[in-house]
């Protein structure tokens, strides 16, 4: 047993254990943290396949950005998780059945010789001077430039939709308009009134004398 194989089994066991904890733990914050562990271990598995750029991207994007955002949301929203959990035992037989069925199908497809799927094999150590990142970049900006641009357009749609759905211009919001402030001149800020002799208004006229 090589050290790589040992590392693979350690990572695989940790990954499956962490993934199970994600769905079994009671506390949503703990679940998110277990998910971080699962992502990190998956990144380790990719490292074993010499996909170091993808591993780094997985850690940075999912662990660094997505999960932190997710934790924020979990902490900011007051979600009653016990209520969400209510129907779990009722739905468990169906959901578990479908899960087992899918696992069996995958085992059937991946495990049987008949389907002509060779067992997953490590690509082996790349030659010296080979840059994984450079290869990915080259593919992304040449062969896959069309889907790459499309993904960018999808992100643009996400931005437009997110702004359109959340931006509310409240009537009572007070804000300053710098252009208005700059355009102000003496005439609309300063009112010169003649200093009339002070006169006490008669009591019968309310609010008079202006």
């Amino acid at each position: 047993m090589t050290i790589q194989l040992a590392a693979f089994y350690v990572c695989a066991v940790v990954l499956i254990g962490a993934a199970l904890r994600v769905i079994t733990t009671r506390n949503a914050v703990h679940a998110a943290l277990w998910l971080v562990l699962a992502f990190f271990t998956a990144a380790c598995l990719w490292l074993l396949l010499y996909a170091e750029f993808l591993a780094a991207a997985l850690v940075m994007v999912y662990v660094g950005a997505v999960m932190v955002l997710f934790l924020f949301v979990v902490m900011m929203l007051d979600i009653n998780f016990d209520k969400l959990r209510e129907g779990i035992w009722r739905h468990l037989p169906l959901a578990g059945g479908i899960g087992i069925l899918m696992a069996l199908e995958m085992a059937l497809v991946l495990g049987s010789r008949e389907f002509g799927v060779d067992g997953p094999r490590s690509p082996g150590a790349p030659p010296a001077g080979y840059s994984n990142t450079k290869e990915l970049g080259r593919l992304l900006y040449t062969d896959y430039v069309f889907p790459f641009e499309l993904a960018a357009v999808i992100l643009l749609v996400a931005i437009v939709a997110a702004i359109a759905l959340t931006l509310r211009r409240r009537k009572e919001t007070r804000y300053q308009d710098p252009a208005d402030q700059l355009a102000a001149n003496k005439a609309n800020r300063l009112k010169i009134v003649k200093d009339a002799p002070a006169r006490v208004p008669p009591a019968s006229q309310e609010g008079g004398g202006e």
């Binding site: 497809v109 002509g116 896959y144 069309f146 993904a151 749609v157 359109a164 759905l165």
Partner: protein
């Protein structure tokens, strides 16, 4: 592996898409500087973008097939015809929706730019030559549609519809991707031509691909709204604002047809015997359930939703025939169906006014007393939806039934004809309400001159195509034979 080279010649087949993306981006920026009362500027810019792109796409009609972007993108006669139809039907959708949106203060730059983004997604789907572009185009369309339904933020019904649409749509995308990844596992490629070649060459790779096919067909059925994956259709049609419903109901059906063609007929063509059986089950269930449940509806939008489900069943009839004749009659069916849907929802929009949605069947009661012409417009469209000659719906149904019959699906044809007779009942009920009953309330005809004119042209086109269908049928047949 050869290095990719880019020249103008490699970009040329994708010029309509590139132009549309440039137009939307410009619209997004220009709209920021347009005051709310000048929103019609953005509106006409959107219409101009659509018509300009349609012109560019139209100028490519007749060019031979060209694959570019390293096999990601194909411009063939079928895609050119479908793209022009999508662009024109989106333009018609916007013209019909304008007054409705203006009155409800929904005519904002976001609605327009999202509809253009959705159009771009449809064009990408139509021209996809790779599973990756097929999927990305679908997501671009779907995300824009979810947002368009949700844009009406103050309506709880619309928010609920958007949520349902989003969750079920995400589920369908997941199934589709799962199926695609299995097909990839079996064939080792995502390129449509190479998948087909691999499946035809090595029967060994087929077993795994059939596993994937089950998921692919389920995902496609979800997107089409075929029974038993139809649950979202009535709720979304009913809950969304009528312009959003019209948008979802019209042009995306053309893109869905192209999607099914690329995925099943082209890529998984060698597995035809397997997916024909699956589509037959979907078609039977859709035609049966759609027509029977529609009878119980009192809401016109829900009724049209169930009618859509049964029409999608008819569309599948043409595709499952698996012959060139079947594909071209399915294409004819989808193009004419979009024309009818535009007219039907256009009428709902025409009769709606501020604070009033003409979406109940009762709201059409006595329309003939109010306006003879628009009652006639609705009559033509309803006849066409029901498949009564001389409207075009009859010929479209006849063509797909004929194709299915020739491929040996006789029992299916008999069932479909029987169900159409059942379906005619709820369409004719609407005709009876319009012509034989007294108006219950006040009926107002809203809409500017351009909308009324377009709606009239729309209905006349439905009638004219029913009398002279040959040019469009020939076009479809030529496009299909040149593309497959």
């Amino acid at each position: 592996m050869n290095t990719a080279t880019f020249s103008l010649a490699t970009l040329a087949p994708a010029i309509p898409e590139i132009a549309l993306l440039a137009f939307v981006s410009a619209l997004l920026v220009i709209d920021l500087f347009v005051a709310d009362r000048d929103r019609h500027v953005s509106f006409w810019l959107a219409i101009g973008s659509l018509l300009g792109t349609a012109l560019l796409a139209g100028s490519l009609v007749g060019h031979p097939s060209a694959v570019t972007f390293q096999g990601m993108f194909v411009a063939d006669p079928m895609s050119q015809v479908l793209k022009v139809s999508v662009l024109l039907s989106v333009a018609a959708t916007l013209v019909y929706s304008r007054v409705y949106l203006e009155v409800r203060e929904l005519l904002r730059g976001e609605f327009l730019s999202l509809s253009l983004f959705a159009t771009l997604g449809m064009m990408v789907m139509i021209s996809a030559h790779h599973f990756l572009t097929l999927y990305l185009g679908l997501e671009l369309l779907a995300l824009s549609l979810y947002a368009m339904v949700a844009l009406q933020r103050d309506s709880a019904r619309a928010t609920e519809a958007a949520m349902k649409y989003f969750v079920l749509g995400a589920l369908a995308s997941g199934m589709l991707l799962y199926g695609m990844s299995m097909v990839y596992g079996g064939t080792g490629s995502l390129d449509i031509a190479r998948v087909a070649a691999s499946l035809a060459g090595t029967p060994q790779s087929q077993t795994l691909a059939v596993f994937g096919l089950v998921f692919v067909v389920a995902g496609v059925a979800f997107k089409l709204g075929a029974v038993p994956f139809h649950m979202w259709v009535p709720d979304v049609y009913h809950g969304a604002s009528t312009p959003a419903t019209l948008f979802i109901g019209a042009a995306p059906k053309i893109a869905a047809f192209a999607f099914v063609m690329r995925l099943l007929a082209q890529a998984l063509g060698p597995l035809g015997a397997d997916w024909q059986q699956m589509l037959a089950i979907l078609a039977v269930a859709s035609i049966g359930l759609g027509n029977v449940v529609a009878i119980a509806q009192t809401n016109l939008k829900r009724m049209l939703a169930y009618s859509t489900i049964s029409h999608m069943g008819f569309l599948l009839l043409g595709i499952l025939a698996g012959t060139d004749n079947g594909y071209s009659s399915a294409m004819f069916y989808v193009l004419t169906y979009v024309l009818m849907t535009l007219g039907a929802f256009g009428m709902i929009l025409l009769l709606s006014r501020a604070g009033f949605e003409a979406e109940e069947l009762e709201d059409f009661r006595g329309l003939n007393r109010r306006s003879r012409w628009f009652a006639f417009v609705m009559l033509v469209i309803v006849f066409s939806l029901a498949g009564i000659p001389p409207a075009v719906g009859f010929l479209a149904k006849l063509a797909v039934l004929q194709a299915a019959w020739e491929s040996g699906f006789g029992w299916l044809v008999v069932f479909a004809v029987l169900m159409s007779v059942v379906g005619a009942f709820y369409y004719l009920r609407l005709v009876k309400l319009m012509y034989m009953d007294e108006p219950a309330g006040e009926i107002t005809i809203a809409g500017r001159g351009d909308m009324r004119f377009l709606l009239s042209v729309n209905a006349l086109a439905v009638l004219a195509l029913g009398i002279v269908p040959a040019p469009l049928m020939d076009l479809c047949a030529r496009a299909i034979t040149a593309s497959l």
